[in-house]
Symmetry: D2
Subunit: 425 residues, 4 copies
Amino acid sequence: MDELAEEIRAHYCHVRQQSETMCEGLEVEDLCLQGMADTSPLKWHLAHTTWFFETFILKPFQEGYRPYNERFEYLFNSYYNAIGQQYPRPQRHLLSRPTVAEVRAYRQAVDECVLGMLDTPLPASWDEIRHRLILGLNHEQQHQELMLTDLKYCLSLNPLYPVYNGNDIPASQDTALTFSEFQGGDSEVGSSLAGHAATDINGFCYDNEGPRHRVWLAPFALADRLVTNGEYIDFIEDGGYRNPLWWHSDGWATVQSEQWQLPLYWQREGSRYGAFTLHGYRELDLAAPVCHVSLYEALAFAAWKNMRLCRESEWEQVAARSEATGHLWNPDCHHPRGATTNRTGPRQLFGDVWEWTQSAYSAYPGYRAQAGALGEYNGKFMLNQMVLRGGSVATPPDHIRATYRNFFYPKDRWQFSGIRLAYDL
Amino acid sequence: MDELAEEIRAHYCHVRQQSETMCEGLEVEDLCLQGMADTSPLKWHLAHTTWFFETFILKPFQEGYRPYNERFEYLFNSYYNAIGQQYPRPQRHLLSRPTVAEVRAYRQAVDECVLGMLDTPLPASWDEIRHRLILGLNHEQQHQELMLTDLKYCLSLNPLYPVYNGNDIPASQDTALTFSEFQGGDSEVGSSLAGHAATDINGFCYDNEGPRHRVWLAPFALADRLVTNGEYIDFIEDGGYRNPLWWHSDGWATVQSEQWQLPLYWQREGSRYGAFTLHGYRELDLAAPVCHVSLYEALAFAAWKNMRLCRESEWEQVAARSEATGHLWNPDCHHPRGATTNRTGPRQLFGDVWEWTQSAYSAYPGYRAQAGALGEYNGKFMLNQMVLRGGSVATPPDHIRATYRNFFYPKDRWQFSGIRLAYDL
Amino acid sequence: MDELAEEIRAHYCHVRQQSETMCEGLEVEDLCLQGMADTSPLKWHLAHTTWFFETFILKPFQEGYRPYNERFEYLFNSYYNAIGQQYPRPQRHLLSRPTVAEVRAYRQAVDECVLGMLDTPLPASWDEIRHRLILGLNHEQQHQELMLTDLKYCLSLNPLYPVYNGNDIPASQDTALTFSEFQGGDSEVGSSLAGHAATDINGFCYDNEGPRHRVWLAPFALADRLVTNGEYIDFIEDGGYRNPLWWHSDGWATVQSEQWQLPLYWQREGSRYGAFTLHGYRELDLAAPVCHVSLYEALAFAAWKNMRLCRESEWEQVAARSEATGHLWNPDCHHPRGATTNRTGPRQLFGDVWEWTQSAYSAYPGYRAQAGALGEYNGKFMLNQMVLRGGSVATPPDHIRATYRNFFYPKDRWQFSGIRLAYDL
Amino acid sequence: MDELAEEIRAHYCHVRQQSETMCEGLEVEDLCLQGMADTSPLKWHLAHTTWFFETFILKPFQEGYRPYNERFEYLFNSYYNAIGQQYPRPQRHLLSRPTVAEVRAYRQAVDECVLGMLDTPLPASWDEIRHRLILGLNHEQQHQELMLTDLKYCLSLNPLYPVYNGNDIPASQDTALTFSEFQGGDSEVGSSLAGHAATDINGFCYDNEGPRHRVWLAPFALADRLVTNGEYIDFIEDGGYRNPLWWHSDGWATVQSEQWQLPLYWQREGSRYGAFTLHGYRELDLAAPVCHVSLYEALAFAAWKNMRLCRESEWEQVAARSEATGHLWNPDCHHPRGATTNRTGPRQLFGDVWEWTQSAYSAYPGYRAQAGALGEYNGKFMLNQMVLRGGSVATPPDHIRATYRNFFYPKDRWQFSGIRLAYDL
């Protein structure tokens, strides 16, 4: 086995194991929950990420491969129309079979086949296989983030408030809201790696991150930290959820129809605020970043502050100068925390919460989705969704970078999503 | 312990064990399924039937009783508004906790307390307790039927078609459709036991079965057996689902909106028909009774035959002359079978399938629901639902009688419900 | 022309003119309103009642008749599947053409043809034509009631509260709530005329009113007058709309989902109650009968009173002894009024408001719908709806009798529907 | 009166009269139609455009002005939350009062007051009033376009297919699909007038058209004409509506849920295509531009062609070089026509159909909505909608320019919306 294959094998084992690790401490029953159509049972995530390797590597490249179970192609296909039809997404919780144990056996069987392919001599299509392996591992890491957010959503619907992580959440420190100024001008954003087969596990990016391209940015100021719970409570207590003037038209309609009065998971008792977390129900830490807000709420808050959210190009220009580290996935704490207080300048760009931008998720100039089923990975979602940047406490630490583009609908709140303010200079 | 207490103790152990027995062979995942709002997870049924004893016997009559878990009152209350609010029914599948194992522990703890009350000396309120015990066991038997029908519905949504019972279904024998004639006239129907506290486990009936009262019946003819799959296929192949003239107005609207073309669980491939059963997917037995039809379909079929369904009073007058036996719950076979061919006259009155009547479920003259939460058991459903009679293969054998009134909405199909024809003389 | 033809001609002209008279004072815009799917624009009623004569008399019996407009068969068919498909009911307001003027021309053209058929010599099929003419006129009278109730519903949605009738509503007099007792026993109800072709305009009844048949009635007491607004306010102020224990299960679900707190059209300001009427917005007259309640509300009120509603057979037995007169349609007042105070015994049996019964609308023993499209008139609705008796202020005075069965869904409130109490002796 | 006031007075009379002219030939019934929540009755448009002048000019600036009718503020407010609550949009068809005649009287009364303000001496706030007058007239012109498209939608639902314009639609000429190439680079787009009070009727633009700002454009090619019906039929007949691979994810979901198989208003009979138009039902002209497609369909078509739609900045850069003329509103023809064949290079940039772009409707850098109710005009819609450019046959000829940004949801089809192809160089 060559060195790269060795490196990929190790990474494969690490990432695959991580999905299992995240389920430790959970009951079989927990792994089957589907709280709404947008979320999937953890069992389904475990199976689907395995399906990805079986479908895109074993079936096309493993000679003589026989499908593990013919029906799994249908049951565990998420949205790849080029592969075939899919079991209806809102009904994934109705699949009691295969059981959790059977899904684990499926994982193991596929893992054995995949790892077998890495033994010398490497297969003829090694370049393509390697690219798909790296894509498949990044895919699984995205699902790891969804596993945590889906789990949180599902557990929150149980009045018993089950605890996923029994640790305390470290208290956050207050720090003033300051802004850094940037001159903008002629800039380049996006990744030049997009569209190229990854040659090593760090050389990967999604196709939607490129091509690298020129943009012109007007001068702007960007907040040095995320908006805190305390600041957001000021908005609430100023009647923010009752005043249509802060809201976009669709946002206000959503506030009315959904009867939103607080961020997702929050409860108010008198003048005290608490929230359900993966650590159980907790009193709100006022210095921690506000979390689980929709874009509608983020925009309303910014309007109330007489500011705006940043564009994704602005964010990227700033973030490109920082190291991609922060409060990312960590077994000890699954909740965002306040900015460090021992530094000035932009902080929390990576980790804690995904930051809503005012940029619609669309193709960069020159973008072309690749042909075939894998071209469905990103391209077909480039409409109606909005870009978030920077990763969260649910993002695996090696799965974030300055060019990374996440995307959700403006109404979505179940991700670890928060707010960073900006304004025009 | 007196003899009756002894008898009740034995029956209690038998019925409670029966709920557990029905779950044998199922996986934890299966016990958590909720296929639609009308069905509940088997785990929930196991907890709710336990909640019934805790709520109506232990809490009011066991001195010093401390609730097993304060939140269970909310989680496992089905519809008793006098007790308090209820966790939303359509979301019962979202309760991963308590787990199946925890629910079993809850069952065991409540059983121990209840059985402890039966030890001599009997409590002061023994008459009322005894009545509630017998009611609670009948309640649990009703849920046992629901457990099977809910399970069947949920498993049918899985393309893997899980098998609950691996036995073969015995083949049914053809037998001609004949009718018996009845002169009707001045009659009495209903149970004279209703409203009286049961003094033994066989002396029980629900309040909705009485008072016994006079009715006048015109002469009528009643089919000697149930309508078969073969006869129903004739209706289908004559375009029955495409011709509005056979249908009531609401029935036709439902056929259109639900795009019904076949009974629930059926599939047609070319000229062959099969159906999902608790024994897995099976080819249809043409001589077996048609099953899983709504009242709309039953009425349309009868109209196509230029006949009608019977009234519940007609059915009861005939059934009162028969022994209440037939293909009721039996571990060997969970599917209805054809009538016996070695007899003439009315057959299959009990068991196989519940028989839709043309009678609206309403209060008998003189009926009064009892005061308090237990008065919610039957009375508040006496609107918009229709009466079915006779029990099914899912009904416990000691849980059916001629006066027993079951009720569902005209559109409901997930019960073992079928058709018996009648006409005016 | 023979005498009966002469009588029918006069009645035809009278009834047809009455539909036009009811539109006087309304604007073209008012005639096009459709406030919900259950209501139809008055213009549509004017066209549909004309379509009835064209479809069931002119097309089959007028030799060489050419349809007035081929598309009208589709546009103005209400629900007769045997005739053909129907323009979707909820979209009737979308038919700006034909205009009101064009519909009036259609009415005139059909009237000329129909009246032409009555000239001597009478056609060969005179018996059938006569029967259909009388049916068509009764049909138009039913639509006249709907025209008023549909209009009221539509105008109520306009914050300008348009006034249909500018007269004052006479004040009602208080009179105590008393009951009359009836022994019941072996009785006969229903009409013996049903199923026979009417030989004169008074010899008509609908097929659903027969056959006349035997029933056995237990002794009962029936209120001598309708429930008043004042009595209903007591229920409201006792928290009736907030206490689930008074309600049937489906009723309580409706109260919650529709957020009902008052009868339809009512408003409360502080301790004062008012309601929109066809005379405009008015303060409530406490002695007038409560109106525009659903069956759910009627049953809840009766339960709160520890009483019940009557069965339709009970009502009919009592009403058969009275003359069918009361506050029926009258150009001076379109709102129900209190009972007369100068008499004792049962009053208001006819007129003011339709009285909800606890009887499901179903076929009488021996009922058979006639073959063909006219068999769809009543029979296919004999499911899910409940019987109301006695007519209302919107019922033409010659269109009510003791055997008359009206039917609506338990949730319906836009008819002039009210409450009469009963109890078991 | 000064010259500018004179010019505005003339323009006011012209625009206000134009709204009335568009209703000529329609019946009162037609003016009351509301085919879906997105459309409004023409009567409502006539009232709302009047309400705009009353609310934003007469009430604040006309001393001693008394509202024409206090309730109109509520009834005819479209979406200005700063003014107050609004009558629910989907129910506008339920307002039979005020009648059409009463709305015309309202128009006349407001016109008299407004024109009275233009008499010398001009009021003190003349600068602001002038700006609002010009805004109000542009507002009314936008509603004139909606009046036509709303009318078309409503009439299309009537199987009688009412004809609004009895003229023939001139036949279009075939012309090859060619592309022009553009080098892009550093560019400026947007209007420098935005945010400034208009000093004459031609100096107006909406606030969303500015600020003028720099963008960097990569080289691109733009089609010289719109996509034709014939080209779109090729897509249909290649199975375009059945192949998910051409569609964005939300587009495919919409195709499925709405069962789209053709553009709005189209019908196929065998191999022939026709469409409802404002000239009645017509056979499709293959050389005319395809019309009434959603953005989903436009994007799918472009993907099938292996091309893309343009960005709004690309379109504007090209359009800025052309005169803003074309098939815009014209009493003779209300349907788009093919490109002229006697020229080369980009054609049809203005008129015929609005051209979907791939640009999300969002704020230009530096955009700030103005304070108060008028700030709700555009800003609050800058989310979830997509930009269309160039005007249509329903756009008043003096109401379009290269910087004009129209916006609708991707699923919307009832505007005159079409497709222009582009690709990267």
